[in-house]
Symmetry: C2
């Protein structure tokens, strides 16, 4: 089996000083992996010509595929094309197809076209142009001494379009690729080290071409089995068998046996049962609703949300009694339960998730410190409320409270099934 | 001026196959930059000992500071410590302080402690331990031939704690650092290339130690001036003067003259005027509320939200008339305006943002294609509704509709000021 290695080079000062988080590399890594290309290294460098040239030379020693993103914009700090001209001993020529694409885009946007935009249709003469229908900067495909170099714009939406429509098909044509298969499951409620302890014998018995990885994810853990082999059918069979063994060992903590986030695990159950959901969010501030509605098809079961940041919204819309709020406070079992019941009534749903807590950094007291969160699930079996304590910063507390609440709904749904 | 360069090495197969997005590098880049250390390169490699050793050797040639994250967990795929032992010609010894920290954490969590966790307190004998109060893996600080190496856990929350409490103070002690200053502003409503055209003379006239960068951000652009110099007071003065010139040139499109996202630009105005805000979200599904409530202090002005995913929520809670929904549909000027007015009444706020649209990939029609979004702002000056069209995937359409809606509120507030 001949392995094809890839390197990803991302270009831009904004990546180095941290003003932009690099999501491109993760997307490219996932896509290459699916077709059996192994990303060996990822590098981020600034808008410096010498650094680009050095990175290209260096990576060509170990990788057969080099993907470069960024530095193709119309502004003066974009240096990738001059660097490519030097590296491939080339000069810029106007590409008619890319030019037409630029013109089409500006016509569609009804914006004036200027010289700077037309220049984006200039490419090194010895590249194959990959037309970018989502933006003005074309992709470029080079070959040199057995190595394929692909230069793509850094705008994620444009880069993704080019990867899907041009790069992956062309890579599949250019290389004989070995299959790589993954199987992933999501666990909650057990620490990484305890899980590792439990799985040590399983891991030790794995054949050398199959690996187990632990991927912590928002207070949960994903377990991933990865296999490589020339014989895809046999690998699939082998991996399925091991995955079933693994599932059996961790079934107590398993959320879902797919590489899906918790909100999709819950969505699947609700859709299959034809039930509806709403949320009443105080401390999570709409994050749970946002997680659910990010996925297409959520309108099939998701009805709506009341974010009751102010206490008046709790009393006015969710029908929380004022004397309950006064006696127990907003962050209490009594209030969160009334929020859940009130939301179920006003939103007319089968289930409701309700949250009320103190996310910090301000607002904590000795009795109810920052991170204290009450979560209630309301459904046909009544209301179940529980108290939680998250110990992180505001953003992470919101994220953790949201996934914890979704997992509590999953458990509520699971318990119904067992009844 | 002697520059201090840094390299960031992130370790983990999950980064290469794209199952985890690397947010650590951005955080580290930002923090190093603030104290005047320039990140020259970022590298991500797999859990492979040889690759780690090679990266350390390679980066030590150009950087005086090397920060390594990841691979310190309690599971078998974590390989960083053995690699560090080889690189620094060292062997593992038990560190008492780190051991006590592990014990304290497990006592606090009320979880059983196992051998695997105790092993996390073992460190190479020639490192300085950086105690990690947020987790069981300690940070490690090495020095070798004039280069500082810092190994940190990959869990973002733990890494951040160590950077803030240990790494930055120790780096400031160890190096004489030159000042780097940034000034950033946020623009909306003008393309990158048109902006570049406008600013070409300004950019050409900048002194060599001051640079202008264009950072596209969700349909908006951040402009950043960066200056480096030994004389901090003089640099501050020089940069302020140039920044004021820049602000004057772009004032028509300027959202805020700080490196703040749009939701914070809006929050600042509302807080300063003592006004309140609510949202009525259909297609944005709670994203606007989530953006606002991510920031501490939002309860000072943010009252709440009704996510009206189902039409019944629009009629029941937001008082949208059924004949309006039937005649014009949910995605229409009439409906979104009634949503805004209804939410203002039921949430009792000074202002409301309302959204209704089709985010895709399903649900589009010839008349209302995917990406069609109506946005309404309600306030003391009445309701202003406008139609927008976003051309991206679901997630990005939600993000863009949310920031566009926030910017429309900003303009509404700005217009009031001018009246």
């Amino acid at each position: 089996m001949k392995e094809v290695n890839a390197s990803i080079i991302t270009i831009g000062d904004e990546l180095l000083i941290g003003q932009t988080i690099d999501t491109n590399s993760a997307f490219i890594g996932t896509e290459l992996n699916k077709i059996g290309i192994w990303v060996k290294k990822r590098i981020a460098i600034g808008d410096v010509k010498e650094d680009i040239l050095e990175a290209l030379t260096e990576q060509s020693k170990t990788s057969q595929v080099i993907i470069i993103t960024g530095g193709l914009g119309p502004t003066a700090d974009d240096i990738t094309k001059p660097a490519l001209c030097t590296y491939f001993d080339s000069n810029l020529i106007l590409n008619e197809e890319a030019l037409q694409n630029v013109k089409d885009i500006f016509t569609r946007l009804n914006r004036p076209i200027i010289d700077r935009n037309l220049k984006q249709a200039e490419v090194p003469h010895n590249c194959t142009v990959l037309i970018n229908t989502r933006g003005t900067a074309p992709g470029m495909w080079f070959q040199k001494e057995g190595v394929v170099y692909i230069s793509l714009p850094g705008v994620p939406h444009e880069m993704k379009g080019l990867i899907e429509t041009s790069v992956l098909p062309k890579l599949k044509e250019s290389f004989e690729l070995p299959p790589i298969l993954h199987k992933t499951l999501l666990l909650a409620g057990k620490g990484e080290s305890e899980m590792a302890e439990l799985l040590t014998p399983f891991e030790a018995a794995l054949p050398t071409h199959i690996k187990l990885a632990y991927l912590p994810s928002y207070g949960m853990i994903r377990l991933r089995l990865t296999g490589k082999s020339d014989n895809k059918a046999q690998l699939e069979e082998e991996l399925t068998k091991l995955f079933n063994q693994l599932k059996d060992m961790v079934k107590e903590w398993m959320v879902i046996d797919e590489d899906l986030p918790i909100e999709q695990a819950v969505s699947k159950i609700l859709k299959s049962r034809g039930k509806t959901l709403g949320t009443a969010e105080s401390c999570t501030g709409g994050k749970i609703a946002h997680l659910i509605t990010t996925h297409s098809g959520s309108s099939q079961f998701f009805i709506g949300t009341v974010v009751s940041y102010a206490n008046e919204v709790k009393t006015d819309i969710l029908d929380v009694q004022e004397d309950i709020l006064n006696a127990y406070g907003a962050v209490s079992e009594e209030t969160v339960s009334q929020m859940a019941i009130g939301a179920k009534k006003v939103l007319k749903t089968d289930y409701v998730i309700a949250t009320s807590g103190i996310m910090g950094p301000e607002g904590g007291t000795a009795e109810k410190p920052v991170g204290t969160v009450w979560i209630a699930i309301a459904g046909p079996q009544g209301v179940k409320a529980s108290k939680h304590h998250f110990r992180f910063d505001r953003k992470r507390n919101i994220d953790l409270a949201s996934v914890t609440a979704l997992n509590l709904l999953r458990k509520y749904l699971q318990a119904e099934e067992l009844n």
